[in-house]
């Protein structure tokens, strides 16, 4: 699941990518075999009715596109969170030699300040 550093990618969120949603709708429509004649089972492909591999392929693509959108088309807070984490780690290294440097965010306001304000 290697990703480029989020700070080097532009800010993005999935809902602002219309083609992504066109793809989702198309795949949902492809999954259910409404476009094929009801009652047909033959021919069998890989031992299963021919419509089923089409549906499976659409489902796999649906999962793949959803996972891709999560990783590649969602980049709102991560650059700022990375920057704050790096700052915290640098401070931590200077102040205390032991302990972990990962920002926990537990029971704190979290790494978000003015982010999201217009």
């Amino acid at each position: 699941m290697g990703q480029r550093r989020s700070s080097s990618r532009p800010t993005s969120e999935p809902i602002r990518n219309p083609w992504l949603w066109v793809a989702f709708v198309a795949l949902i429509l492809a999954m259910a075999p409404w476009y094929l004649p009801a009652g047909d089972a033959a021919p069998l492909v890989f031992g299963v009715p021919y419509w089923f591999p089409v549906s499976v392929a659409a489902t796999l693509l649906f999962s793949g596109v959803a996972a891709w959108a999560c990783l590649r088309r969602w980049n709102l807070d991560e650059p700022e969170e990375e920057r704050r984490a790096a700052e915290a780690a640098a401070r931590h290294d200077g102040d205390a030699p032991d302990g972990d440097s990962e920002p926990d965010g537990a029971d704190s306001a979290g790494p978000h300040g003015e982010e999201g304000r217009s």
Binding site: P10, E13, I15, A41, A106, H112
Partner: protein, 500 residues
Amino acid sequence: MNDLIFGGTSGMLVLGFYALTMLVIGYVAGRRNPGTRHTAKGYYIAGGGLGFVALFFTLYATQYSGNSVVGYAPTAYRTGFPWWQSVGFMTAVIVGYLLFAPRLYTVAKREGFITPTDWVRHRFASTPVSVLVVILMLWGLANYLLEQLVAMGHAISGLTGNTVPYQLGVIAFVLVMLIYSWLGGMRAVALTDVMQGIALLIGVSVLLGGSLYLVGGDLGDVVGDMLREEPEKVAVPPTEVSVNWIAMMLLIGFGASVYPHAIQRVYAARSERTLKRSLAIMAWMPLVTTGVVFCVGIVGTELYPGLSESESEQLVGLVANSVAAIGPFFYAVMVLMFGGIVAAIVSTADSALLAFSSIFSRDLYGRYLRRSASEKRQLLIGKVAGVVIVAVLLLIAWNPPGTLYAIFVLKFELLVQIAPAFVLGLYWRRLAAGPVFWGMLAGAVFAGVCTVLDLEQPVGIPFGLLGLALNAVICVVGSLLTRPQADPEREEATAEPQPG
């Protein structure tokens, strides 16, 4: 799930092991994070600090309950190949998250949200909208909990060979659930979900492996026999079934992603990176969960042909019996799997219970019943409310409804109505509180009444989805007809996040 050959002593031992492990995890989670027990943020959303492993498994265990195994395999048995839709609609839940979670995560971290209603209050500043959202969520959560309690009782009595009666089994595991939830809050719930999720994944995989072994490893033969005996389960389904398939993807995609406990997991993520990586893997999980269960149901048609509807409800138990008889390894894994099913049911119930407690304590008690209550008192009231609702639901669970699936759909009919307040509310500044209230109310009443009256679904489209469409139309048209009011706070709530 009656008469499991591996039920009885070994089943009781496994259940005891799971129960003890959950208690230890709750104890450790509470001791290692003392803030967990004393602050609402610590208790209800783990301080917004859940890391990747815990977040992924708690998302997983929350979305997949025991019903995803014991209820979906019989449906695949009865429906045949069209039940592949269960993989699609579980993936649609992740697509549903993509509609709102990225922006909601940002706003939630900035504003310190704890309950889903916090967003609604922040966005609309309307008491009627907030109260209606609270009512719909509490109703949906209670129904959801009830379903889990019913399933829990059946699973425990089946696994213990009825040595542990239905009622006693439910009470014992409810007590375990309450204790570890009280000790460690969301952190304990998430950590127990790791164990529960792993047990379920391994169990269903071995169940499929064993059942394929029993039919000689050739799915082609199974399909061939289905074609001869029950061709309608293999052929292209009628148009109404296909329309229902698409409709269920939309309904569950919208509905399950705005579950109150699902929204709280968005709040609980340690970072955006953690959240999106967890959801990216979740997008593949239907293939290895409901996809595997679907295959078990299909193989079941070969192993146990001709079961009636009520007999087929026992399918997972029947298949597990056959698989356990293969040898000691399969026997052991089947015991672990059934323990895992009970654990998965508990893990779904604990998430819903925690969300119920948080909404009751913060959105009802702390806001309307006793505004001066301290945070500590609100927490205590939330915990007590959780115990009371479980006690009430237990009384109902002892007269369980006929089929699990019917109530599964019913809770979506109402819960899905809060979706426009989140999806449209996050992105469309003009969305006004009045139309949101009337849209939600109209959608919920329409869907609820049609469902209660058991009317026939038009072309296979669930009433919940029709109610949602009505709801969305009222929201959009009503907001367009409402004079926009300049309100800097509302504008800020929907502001597009800027790079840091």
